[in-house]
Symmetry: C2
Subunit: 135 residues, 2 copies
Amino acid sequence: MLNPLKNVLQEHQLKATSQRLTLLEYMMTHDTHPTAEMIHQDLPNISLATVYNTLEKFVEKKLVVIIDGISDGKRHYDAADHPHYHVINTRTNEIIDAANYDPAPLIKAAQAATGLKITEYKIDLYGVDPDSKPE
Amino acid sequence: MLNPLKNVLQEHQLKATSQRLTLLEYMMTHDTHPTAEMIHQDLPNISLATVYNTLEKFVEKKLVVIIDGISDGKRHYDAADHPHYHVINTRTNEIIDAANYDPAPLIKAAQAATGLKITEYKIDLYGVDPDSKPE
DNA sequence: CTTTTTGATAAGAATGGTTCTAAATTATTA
DNA sequence: TAATAATTTAGAACCATTCTTATCAAAAAG
């Protein structure tokens, strides 16, 4: 099998259709945290419904994560190929990836507090440029 | 001034109208993480539009935080009177408050990674009952 | 090879949570 | 008071997302 993306899909029990391969590659090679609409504009041959359907499947399989809480009201998506968290510049809405933090103590604290088995975590921090004028 | 909630509003440059007092007290005394619609049902004398408007103001003033990412698609709200994070039981959608974690190292890591001044953080963890059958 | 079955995709309609609008009410100031 | 400003309201509008139904493609069975 020469196409590693095809493998990724099959390992996650997803049929490797051309739309899914295109979308997965798009997500893997873009760190722009796009909305469904933005993806659809870049890949007009894939219908908006399929973009939504496929992203939902990818989220289920944990290939992609949702970023919400952005003040544009839309849902953003991000490839989940390496563990990281997001820092959102509230002045520009820019979403920045960061990975220099080990969430293990947080996970442990949450399991201790709730008794639940933590399967996923979402860490979003909000900040502004330190030198930006208060509007 | 005998009403502490009135003080809270005035300290945040919000006129202490009866709707705002009622809503603030509601949020302070309920840890049920309600949606706007749920609040409106409990407080039918306050219009849904005012519930939304007022919650938005409270969020701006950091008296209330938004919890999204719940699989019911709706926005939930929570009083922000003490720092804590949320653990969501993905089987029941129950939102559990937890506070046994100090986010200081996370904040530090984020500032180091991005150069931004972190003003807010949102930590949501997702988990299931350890003894629940996988559907 | 067909045929059948299953699952994926597409186009557009429908949904519904949230936001907006314009009018009515209430508070504030002169 | 009158005049101005801010808040609240009911309902309309919005629009991101989901749903519906039909079409299509791929795999499985025969």
